[in-house]
């Protein structure tokens, strides 16, 4: 593990790259929590609903810890969490819209939450000290998310034709988005590699492939084709570090606490 970077000595480019990474991770975690929360009362069993509720809490807790890391860059996280509009969100694009069926949520546990964990794992081993300290606990909690996602993915892949079709459709939507996000190779990404904060994108996509290939192979999607084609996107939004688009308005209202602003006490 390399020496920790001195954040105060970072160039403007280095600071911007680190800010973008933290925001992308934090926004993705917040949206992931909202997507899980949509299924607390719609899951296939009471126990699964409770697990989904627990994962919602985990994701929001992770988001809170990640937003707080912005303080290291002298950025107040409160307006970041509560005042930004949808077009400023830096989340992984597969989280932009609610998941319409249980199969899509299951796929997101494996693919989207899995991609986030790969990125967080790398972040925890990089040169940004707060990530080294705080991310390992997040990853420990994520083990449960993976277990649930993998078991359900396998169950659906072995179920009816309808279930397999839904799983394939979700994989076809989510996997390319996750790979584009992990494979980003723009100026900010290269800056983070140079600083030792993150590994090269090929390392991330390789780690991701190793972590999900066995379970995804049980579905009908041509997973290898997606991984073989993994690389930077031509329409990448380098300001936010994500593909074009934005999360739906209702989810952003929920993320910002729009209905409770009169009670806001931070």
């Amino acid at each position: 593990m390399s020496d920790a970077i001195n954040v105060d000595a970072l160039s403007d480019g280095g600071r911007a790259a680190l800010e973008r990474l933290i925001l992308s991770l934090a926004d993705s975690k917040r949206l992931m929590g909202i997507r899980y929360s949509d299924w607390i009362l719609g899951s296939p069993s009471v126990e699964t609903g409770i697990a989904t509720s627990s994962m919602t809490q985990d994701e929001w807790g992770h988001a809170r810890l990640l937003y707080a890391m912005l303080k290291q860059l002298d950025i107040d996280p409160v307006p970041i969490e509560h005042d930004r509009t949808a077009e400023a969100y830096a989340n992984l694009s597969a989280l932009d819209e609610p998941f319409e069926d249980w199969a899509a949520l299951v796929a997101s546990m494996v693919i989207v939450d899995g991609a986030l964990s790969v990125a967080l794992d790398a972040f925890s081993e990089g040169a940004f000290a707060p990530a080294r300290q705080r991310v390992p606990k997040m990853l420990a909690e994520e083990r449960f998310h993976v277990s649930l996602g993998v078991a359900w993915f396998r169950r659906l892949a072995a179920a009816s034709e309808e279930a397999r079709a839904l799983l394939r459709a979700a994989t076809d939507r989510q996997l390319p988005a996750a790979l584009v996000w992990l494979a980003a190779d723009d100026e900010s990404s290269r800056e983070l590699v140079e600083l030792g904060v993150m590994p090269p994108p090929e390392s991330l996509t390789t780690a991701f492939r190793a972590s999900v290939r066995d379970v995804l192979a049980e579905g009908d999607a041509d997973v290898n084709a997606y991984f073989d084609a993994a690389g930077p996107a031509s329409d990448w939004d380098s300001t936010r570090g994500r593909a074009p688009g934005q999360p739906d308005a209702d989810s952003v209202d929920r993320a910002r606490g729009a209905k409770n602003r009169a009670l806001f006490v931070e």
Partner: protein
């Protein structure tokens, strides 16, 4: 949906007795662990275990949930 019943055992502190705290239904061992940990989250458990109900061997009764899980009468 076919689910399996698992009984959940836990202890709060090292040295405490392992106690039966409840049960969960789950797809398999891995999801049973997730369901148990998230369902019985009221304590900061030192240790938690799950066991398939059908693997529990009744000793002195020939009725009840553990007998039923092994194919006997309820």
């Amino acid at each position: 949906m076919i689910e399996i019943t698992y009984d959940v055992f836990a202890r709060k502190n090292r040295g405490d007795q392992l106690s039966h705290v409840g049960y969960v239904d789950a797809l398999d061992d891995e999801t049973a662990k997730v369901h148990a940990w998230t369902t019985y989250s009221e304590e900061n458990w030192f240790e938690m275990c799950v066991v398939q109900r059908s693997q529990i061997i009744p000793v002195n009764r020939d009725d009840g949930p553990f007998v039923k899980a092994r194919g006997g009468p309820e």
